[in-house]
């Protein structure tokens, strides 16, 4: 009884967040452009691809292209989620909804929970629909059925939660655009670092390193520590894409990015609740 009483205002705030965002022309335009872009990828599936003089078979082309598209959509929707989140408090403040809601018997934690879940649901739906378009193209046009593609999409939703919570928290400390750029920066640095790390583990690079026999690698350097603790957004995407590839997980190392992002969500979420609890409502 008590729980349902506490949940009732949260559900309403989720509904208002969804409705208000979907009514925005910019949101609709953004969605339509993204959907058209995903549809345009359809043409890539029909091409002939040669690797080392050998033509790739259709199934390999579909899986590889679908995986690339998966990463592009997941990363793109993270940017869109950050854009949607950065102005949410400012809009609510300027339009009087924040004071309207909080002058009712609704606690600040309920307001924040409603906002975070509302934005998360919206972003997850956004990403899921785009991934579903790819899924439908491969299923109907190319007769390659990949249900794991949709599961992978849902797994990536944890990244969206991280982005939303981080942008909301930072937008309370600094201007909206700076908050957006900071989270974008965290994402880009993480992607680049993960990319370099992945490349350094490749056989080609390792053999080059052995040949040059440069200075021996130190066991644990400060940048390695930073690297391991940095938000593993690309790691989560790669973990999700292993589902598409139907690869097996390789122990703790595979699921570490998921744990890393979950921990970040918890820590940033706690900071967001604490920070908003002390915020002056104007």
């Amino acid at each position: 009884m008590e729980t349902s009483k506490a949940l009732a205002p949260i559900k309403k705030i989720i509904k208002y967040t969804l409705v208000d965002e979907m009514r925005q022309k910019s949101f609709v335009v953004m969605f339509v452009i993204c959907a058209i872009c995903v549809f345009l990828i359809r043409g890539c599936y029909q091409g002939n691809y040669m690797v080392n003089g050998q033509a790739l078979d259709a199934a390999t082309i579909v899986r590889t292209l679908s995986k690339v598209t998966f990463h592009i959509i997941a990363a793109g929707v993270m940017v869109i989620a950050a854009l949607l989140s950065m102005r949410i408090f400012r809009n609510d403040r300027n339009e009087g909804m924040q004071s309207c809601i909080l002058s009712k018997p609704i606690a600040r934690w309920q307001y924040i929970t409603g906002k975070v879940i509302g934005l998360w649901v919206l972003s997850v739906l956004f990403m899921f629909i785009l991934h579903s378009i790819v899924f439908l193209i491969t299923s109907i046009n190319l007769k390659v059925f990949m249900p794991e593609y949709l599961v992978a999409s849902l797994l990536c939703s944890i990244n969206l939660l991280f982005v939303i919570v981080a942008v909301l928290l930072l937008s309370l400390q600094m201007s909206d655009i700076v908050a957006f750029l900071c989270v974008l920066g965290v994402g880009i640095v993480g992607f680049v670092a993960d990319g370099i790390a992945a490349a350094s583990h490749s056989q080609m690079v390792q053999s080059m390193v052995q040949q040059s026999a440069a200075s021996p690698q130190s066991e644990l350097t400060w940048w390695k520590i930073v690297y391991y603790f940095w938000p593993k957004l690309l790691g989560v995407q790669q973990l999700a894409s292993t589902l598409i590839e139907r690869e097996a997980f390789h122990g703790f190392g595979s699921i570490y990015p998921l744990i890393n992002i979950l921990l970040y969500c918890l820590i940033l979420g706690a900071l967001l609740f604490k920070r908003f609890g002390n915020e002056d409502i104007v």
């Binding site: 009514r23 009087g96 002058s103 606690a107 309920q110 002056d280 104007v282």
Partner: protein, 234 residues
Amino acid sequence: MIELKNVTKRYESLTAVDDVSFSVKSGECFALLGPNGAGKTTIVKMLLDFIRPTSGDLSLNGIPSTQAECRQSIGYLAENHHIPANLSGWQYLLRCAELLDLSPPEAMEQCRRIVETIGMQGREHAKTGTYSKGMVQRFGLGAALMGDPKLLILDEPTGGLDPIGIRELRLLLESLKGQGMTIFLNSHLLSEVEKICDTAAIINRGRLLVKDAISDIVKEGDTLEAVFVRLVKG
């Protein structure tokens, strides 16, 4: 109904509210008066827990203002009220009703009644982006009346209203007062306050100068305006 005990609010070196204590009884129509920057809106915002006091306690119906339950039967109209431009006045009122957990038929009935009370029949379905400041203020007042609150907190409610609107507001407040509603009014319009309110407090630079029945503050042959100017100018 409302109680402030040694409430102080400091912003770094500025003391917006300085050790203010007073109470407002149930059914009382109370006015908080003071010049610009005296700390009136800060007190209202602390009552609603929009701002936390540096020290002191505020309570509504015996419940600390930091607890959401204390706002169970409060209607609030902000100074310079805003409504999302993508909503109509009707949708805005419906949202307020939903947030108060009113059942859909009850919400519709209350919205219909409130639109009539605030004199906005025929304009309730237009987008609020097309409303004048006075019309937004009227819908803000309507939102404050949603759910038949026991306490009405109005921060400069006459802002943007024309003389007819001000008169209608006064008549409405008199009627609500007659129904036993407690009214906490923040206003500059001393002549209106004198007509409606039973008690008043005057603050200046965050300090409480006087809190008493208006009949005791304003002696015979005097006006509230004259008393206000005398107290504020020292």
